[in-house]
């Protein structure tokens, strides 16, 4: 059996490659070149940089596996970077990592797995794929603090049948300990946090580079529509944001709405921010989706726990009622449905 391992140059995918060798697979390591500067060079700051590729290459050499850099710049720019920028211009809060997994990593790369004569695609994501009979289920990682099942919700049965996530079975501490025992150079490398193509660390600088018009100023409104301040561009804001509103009115205020056409944002109290439910589209299933009336858990942002909800509408549009009112989810983010530890599927939030 032959495995194609997507190696980012981080510790998780380094260990994933080593574990596949241990399991007796023939292993090929690849790094996706997703983003480049104007001169065609890989970026030197942020993540997925030239030095990350070099780390991956050196780990591959240590493991004595072939290693290649694959050019996905065009696919990535089209499927991830441009929608990311456009999403912000449209007042959304896009999740580029999910778009990348959806349209590049687990789409193009699964095709590539076949083309290269490999049987399985392996990544360093923290999540688990379990086989029950002839069905596959996507489960949260053993290490709850590192769980990445949210960003993998788009994996279909067919994809899950070809994907192996070896480090999902380990805690991050164990991953680092294993890397250290193996003498892998990435053992103590810090986790990446940034959006890989936002090399300055601030997505606003990045947007400004692509779309100078993002700095268009506008009004800050209260819930009655009265002007209570001004702002330097709607892309500086995301729903639920509390900091940087430039308005001081005693009780904390949160962004409730972003209207890019009017160039306004609306702010209100925490109470104003709470909503009963939300709507998502483009629902993808990992195997079987719930039906109307089913009680499930939904996770509406990367850094929050799933909360109990009921499916109120299913089909083209999916509407969910939260058991308890929740801070308003940001349109553009992913909504992922869980049955306990298992991912049922997910889509993109359009309204709340």
């Amino acid at each position: 059996m032959k495995a194609l391992v997507a190696m980012s140059g981080g510790v998780d995918s380094s260990v994933a490659a080593a574990l596949m060798l241990e399991r007796g697979f023939d292993v090929i390591g690849v790094t996706l070149k997703q983003w480049e500067g104007p001169d065609g060079a890989m970026p030197v700051a942020g993540c997925c940089t030239l030095s990350d590729a070099e780390d991956a290459r050196r780990v591959a050499a240590q493991l004595d596996i072939p290693y290649y850099v694959l050019d996905y710049v065009e696919e990535f720019t089209e499927a991830v970077v441009e929608p990311f920028a456009q999403g912000y211009l449209d007042g959304l809060t896009p999740n580029p990592c999910i778009e990348c997994n959806r349209n590049v990593r687990f789409d193009a790369l699964l095709d590539r797995t076949d083309e290269l004569g490999c049987d399985v695609l392996v990544t360093g994501h923290h999540a688990r794929v379990e086989k029950v009979g002839d069905r596959y289920r996507l489960r949260k990682a053993v290490d709850g603090t590192k769980d990445q099942s949210y960003v993998l919700h788009m994996l279909s049965q067919e994809a899950l049948s070809k994907v192996i996530l070896p480090v999902g079975e380990m805690t991050k501490t164990d991953v680092r300990a294993y890397a250290s025992t193996m003498g892998l150079r990435t053992a103590t490398k810090p986790d990446s946090q940034d959006i890989c193509f936002v090399t300055s660390g601030d997505y606003r600088d990045f947007l400004r580079g692509m779309h100078p018009e993002v700095d268009a100023p506008g009004d800050v409104l209260d819930t009655s529509g009265a002007v209570v301040g001004s702002h330097g561009g709607t892309t500086n804001f995301t729903i639920g944001q509390r900091k940087g509103l430039g308005v001081s009115v005693g009780e904390p205020r949160y962004v409730l709405d972003i209207e890019p056409r009017e160039q306004t944002i609306t702010i209100g109290t925490y109470e104003d921010l709470l909503v009963d439910g939300c709507t998502a589209i483009d629902m993808r299933s990992t195997g079987s989706l719930p039906g109307v009336g089913d009680a499930i858990d939904v996770k509406v942002r990367y850094r929050s726990e799933p909360v109990p909800a009921t499916v109120a509408e299913a089909g083209e549009r999916w509407t969910f009622r939260f058991d308890e009112r929740q801070p308003k989810p940001a349109p553009g983010q992913a909504l992922v449905m869980y049955d306990g530890e298992y991912v049922l599927g997910g889509g993109t939030i359009v309204a709340a």
Binding site: I28, G40, A41, A53, Y68, V69, E115, G117
Partner: protein, 382 residues
């Protein structure tokens, strides 16, 4: 990991095997003549003497009037940079070159453009050839330097450099002509007289010498401004401690190459032609790039419609076959080729081409062996 001798090595155009005599000469120079050749003592004189002997031999092999018209460099890239950036032609500041040059030339002319000089880039036909008439159309009294490669590194297509030089000189004898002969030297007669040029660049590792050494040969009386500044070596034209082992290694490789060139070329042409015959009969939709032009006998550049070069290269590598596509960027990803774009390939077709290249060390029968193994991999992919 595999080394060059384990693999079925079809990437001689990138780097060919070092001649065993070269390895010996380099090792010997690193023990016997390893002093800094700029010193005044005996060991320095020995090193300097070894180098100057090599310079005389290089001058003779390249038809250069005086040994000092050879400037040793760190390789082909530096030689091209020195030619484009350093050759002075009075106050004529326009440079004419072609769309298919190596990046060492294209980026050097780009650097001159940034400094305010005019740059004129001449296109090629579908076979990848520069037309002398097209090029001559770009000559006017502002032009000081013309640079046209002797043969393209990707396709192997040989450029009509003597005709171009002749026609340029007829229009304006004051224009100087440089040729990047890095890829051609291994299998083609290359010297100033044959090429009818004023300057030429070579890189040792393309013909069995070490990496990190090359040269720029110029006609006598051509003035060169340095690109690398420092201690004033190479008569002030190229500073940096003399790389004596590299230089004597390169000139040894030049001697062997020139001695064996005709015999090698004849043998490689037969192998290459057999390789192409077998591959294209197994895959009739495969198209040999530049088949209608004169090509280096070492090169076989083939378009496989519908097969991504990146995928094919990895499958070939998996089977122990070393080949290449376009040029690799710093990260190692396959980049679209400006050469193929200039020939009219669209982005998709340009991403479906593989270069197989042969060299002096390619064993007898490699054409048939390589073709069979490549066809077997193609069968897996298609």
């Amino acid at each position: 990991m595999t080394n060059m001798t384990d693999a079925l090595y079809l990437d001689h155009a990138a780097t060919t095997d070092a001649h065993p005599e070269v390895v010996d000469v380099v090792a010997k120079a690193m023990t016997d003549t390893n002093a800094n050749a700029s010193g005044l003592h005996g060991p320095a004189r020995a090193a300097k003497n070894a180098m100057e002997e090599a310079r005389e031999e290089a001058a003779s092999l390249l038809g250069v009037g005086r040994p000092l018209d050879i400037v040793f460099t760190s390789g082909g890239t530096e030689a091209d940079n020195l030619a484009i950036g350093g050759i002075r032609v009075g106050d004529r500041r326009t440079v004419v070159t072609t769309a298919i040059e190596h990046e060492a030339v294209l980026e050097s002319v780009e650097a001159r453009r940034r400094r305010g000089d005019e740059v004129r880039i001449v296109g090629v036909d579908v076979e990848g050839r520069v037309s002398p008439a097209d090029l001559v159309d770009h000559i006017d009294p502002s032009v000081g330097l013309v640079s046209v490669m002797a043969a393209n590194n990707e396709t192997g297509v040989i450029q009509p450099v003597p005709e171009i030089a002749d026609q340029v000189k007829q229009v304006d004898p004051n224009v100087l002509v440089h040729t990047d002969a890095v890829q051609a030297f291994a299998t083609q007669p290359v010297d100033l007289a044959t090429m009818d040029v004023d300057a030429l660049s070579l890189a040792a590792h393309k013909f069995g010498g070490p990496k990190g050494v090359g040269l720029l040969a110029v006609r006598s009386a051509i003035a060169i401004d340095p690109v690398l500044h420092g201690g004033g070596q190479e008569a002030g034209r190229r500073s940096g401690t003399y790389n004596v082992p590299g230089i004597v290694g390169m000139v040894t490789a030049m001697r062997i190459t020139v001695r064996d060139r005709d015999a090698n070329a004849e043998r490689l042409k037969a192998e290459r032609d057999e390789f192409e015959r077998i591959v294209t009969s197994a895959y009739p939709d495969a198209v040999v790039t530049g088949a209608g032009a004169d090509r280096l006998v070492s090169h076989s550049h083939i378009h496989f419609p519908g097969t991504l070069a990146e995928t094919l290269l990895i499958r070939l590598d998996t089977e122990g076959i070393a080949a290449a596509a376009g040029s690799a960027c710093q990260s190692g990803a396959v980049e679209p080729s400006h050469v193929l774009t200039a020939m009219g390939f669209d982005d998709i077709a340009a991403g479906e081409c593989i270069r197989f290249s042969f060299g002096w060390s390619s064993p007898a029968g490699i054409g048939t062996d390589a073709a069979k193994r490549v066809v077997a991999v193609l069968e897996q992919v298609r």
